[in-house]
């Protein structure tokens, strides 16, 4: 299955080694893991993969464009809450809730003496609207934040701190508005999607495969963005923002774009989380999960799309194993891991792979892999033939 792509594929947005990488990941997620793991463990992987959407967004936003957001949990949460609102409304049919003083509204609203469905819940009766909202609501939110910050040239550490503050604000807001949001417990007891019970094992397996499918689609999208000129502009901006500006680009609009894209990707992950895990709560919105997601990306390699996916899987797998055996040590382990990444291998697992493993594997695939963190190589001069990828 790993036939090197024809040379004409050079004009395509994927290089041969990217295709091999994606194919291997697909093989692992679609065949190896479902065969090797029991249902219970597979559901764990499905949950981890929802964070991989966030990591993917961070690769584009932080790795390529150099915009560190410590508030990606906000977008994960917004996507998750949009989906949870839809599922909750479906679970709160008048028959299911006839013991409440106001039947037909979510249970937590009833407990909080709310007697009619708030206006902003109303559109979430529609699955079409919900699907759209999962992607669009976080993007609009990111646009507002990005517009306010990037047009004023707020960046770097200041931007990171502001995103962190947003994560804190949203958490407090959700917890404080218990009647509308379910408060600290979140939105729980979700049952069915369009009449399809999502709590059964078979449904969870199907949701796992949907999650993998969406992730692979998002990976392709990320590769497309990375290999377009926009991807190179992001790298250029990270390095010499002024030079990009004085080459005729409105730098802020590119930053807003990538921030919104990362937000939407995170939100898809959040929605898949809600579907697979069956609830959404503020504990996935706040500062701690947001920073953890940055660590997944850093460990995997913030410059590598696939690296970030593996990083997310590995860190979460380690988290689950450690938490089972030494729960009190896990946070130290995570902290230590982050320090190790910063000090010893700044480009994460992907960096280690590219500097040590790939050069030895290179000849096997007929083409030398790219140097560490090298962006797609430029085409040769117009007169020359189209060279194999990364012939440098």
């Amino acid at each position: 299955m790993t036939i090197p792509a024809p040379k004409s594929a050079r004009t395509f947005f994927l290089r041969p080694q990217d295709m091999i990488g994606i194919a291997l990941l697909a093989l692992l997620l679609l065949v190896v893991l479902p065969l090797a793991l029991d249902n219970f463990r597979l559901q764990f992987v499905g949950k981890y993969l929802t964070y991989a959407f966030v990591a993917l967004g961070l690769v584009l936003c932080w790795g390529y464009a150099g915009i560190l957001s410590l508030g990606q949990g906000v977008f994960f949460g917004l996507g998750g809450y949009c989906m949870a609102m839809y599922l909750k409304l479906e679970a709160s049919s008048p028959e299911n809730t006839k013991i409440q003083s106001t039947p037909g509204i979510p249970d937590f609203m009833d407990w909080n003496q709310i007697t009619s469905l708030p206006w902003f819940w109303e559109p979430f009766r529609s699955f079409g609207f919900t699907t759209l909202a999962v992607i669009v609501v976080p993007a609009i939110f990111a646009f507002i934040v990005g517009f306010a910050m990037f047009k004023r040239r707020v960046g770097g550490v200041y931007f990171a701190i502001i995103t962190q503050a947003l994560a804190a604000i949203l958490t407090i807001l959700i917890i404080g508005q218990q009647g509308y949001t379910g408060g600290i417990n979140g939105i729980t007891d979700l049952r069915s999607l369009h009449g399809w019970d999502i709590r059964t094992d078979s449904a969870k397996t199907i949701l796992y495969f949907i999650c993998v499918g969406l992730l692979l689609a998002c990976i392709l999208l990320a590769y497309f963005v990375k290999s377009s000129k926009l991807g190179r502009i992001l790298v250029a901006m990270r390095d010499k923002e002024d030079r990009v500006r004085f080459s005729g680009y409105d730098v802020s609009s590119f930053k807003i774009f990538v921030f919104c894209l990362a937000a939407s990707l995170s939100a898809i992950g959040g929605a898949m989380f809600t579907l697979q895990v069956g609830f959404m709560s503020p504990s996935f919105v706040g500062i701690v999960p947001s920073i953890e997601m940055v660590i997944y990306t850093a460990v995997g390699g913030r410059l590598s799309i696939l690296g970030a996916i593996y990083g997310t899987l590995l860190v979460n797998w380690a988290k689950t194993s450690f938490s089972e055996s030494f729960p009190e040590l896990w946070l130290f382990g995570l902290g230590g891991l982050f320090i190790a990444v910063v000090l010893i291998f700044p480009n994460g697992i992907a960096g280690l792979w590219q500097s040590y493993v790939a050069p030895r594997l290179g000849p096997l695939f007929g083409g030398a892999p790219t140097r560490r963190a090298a962006p797609p190589s430029a085409s040769p001069p117009a007169s020359g033939p189209i060279a194999p990828a990364a012939a440098e």
């Binding site: 377009s228 790298v235 002024d242 962006p375 190589s377 430029a378 001069p381």
Partner: protein, 255 residues
């Protein structure tokens, strides 16, 4: 005399007209009531001691610094109210003092980003590396002596090559007004000679403002020299005239 000057200004189509330009940083006037005019196809060199405000003048023209008062008109458009990228799109290119290139990208990609197409988000996403782009990049790369380095990552270039690359990045934009801040600083003698040659080929059909300290170099290329001192014009005219000016000798050229 004064009216004469004003009518001259009105009648003539200057590419760049800077008038009454002042910028003050916390009360310190880095540029003070500065006026000068650049003709079509003119090469203007700005010289002056450190802190005279030379780089600030370029910053003001390209929009990096906002003027406190005064006006900068470029082809009848007021630059002081425009954003940086709009000024670039209007046809003003600027080279920074230290080579400002994208180290993580190849020479080809560096030039391609400066190619004046696909400058919006959608444009950049749908940008195709077509034959026109490749040919233009190749052409520029030959001009800046980097044709055999197109696939090289820019960080591996020598200092002089980085300077040339940045000049190439401006060239590919084909600006009508090109501003160069110390283009030969830090270069070896042979690189300097090659750069002078390069500048002589690229200044055709455009106006150029150069900041430079190297007097030999200035003599070679300047049509007209403006000497700045403490944010004001000390002297202006041909190189010979400026060199003979006692004020200039006193504050700048030395003895």
């Amino acid at each position: 005399m004064n009216t004469q000057l004003i009518t001259d200004t009105m009648n003539k189509d200057f590419v760049l007209a800077v008038e009454g330009l002042t910028v003050s940083f916390d009360g310190f006037k880095a540029v003070n009531d500065l006026s000068f005019y650049v003709d079509e196809n003119e090469i203007r060199v700005i010289i002056g001691p450190n802190g005279a405000g030379k780089t600030t003048v370029l910053d003001l023209i390209c929009g990096r610094t906002k003027a406190t008062t005064g006006s900068i008109r470029f082809k009848e458009r007021e630059l002081t109210r425009m954003k940086e990228h709009e000024i670039v799109r209007a046809g003003v290119g600027r080279k920074f003092q230290n080579p400002s290139i994208y180290e993580d990208l190849t020479v080809f990609e560096n030039l391609e980003i400066s190619y004046p197409k696909g400058r919006t988000v959608v444009g950049a996403l749908t940008f195709r590396r077509d034959t026109a782009v490749k040919e233009r990049v190749q052409e520029i790369a030959e001009t800046i002596f980097l044709a055999d380095q197109l696939d090289q990552r820019a960080e591996y270039l020598s200092h002089g090559q980085k300077q040339w690359l940045e000049i190439g990045m401006l060239l590919i934009q084909d600006p009508e007004l090109l501003m160069l801040d110390e283009p030969v600083a830090g270069m070896s003698v042979s690189e300097r000679k090659k750069t002078a040659e390069l500048l002589n080929t690229i200044i055709k059909n455009r106006s150029v403002i150069v900041i430079e300290h190297d007097m030999k170099f200035v003599e070679d290329i300047a049509h007209k020299v403006t000497v700045l001192h403490q944010g004001k014009i000390l002297s202006e005219g041909s190189m010979a005239k400026v060199q003979a000016d006692p004020k200039v000798i006193e504050v700048y050229l030395g003895h």
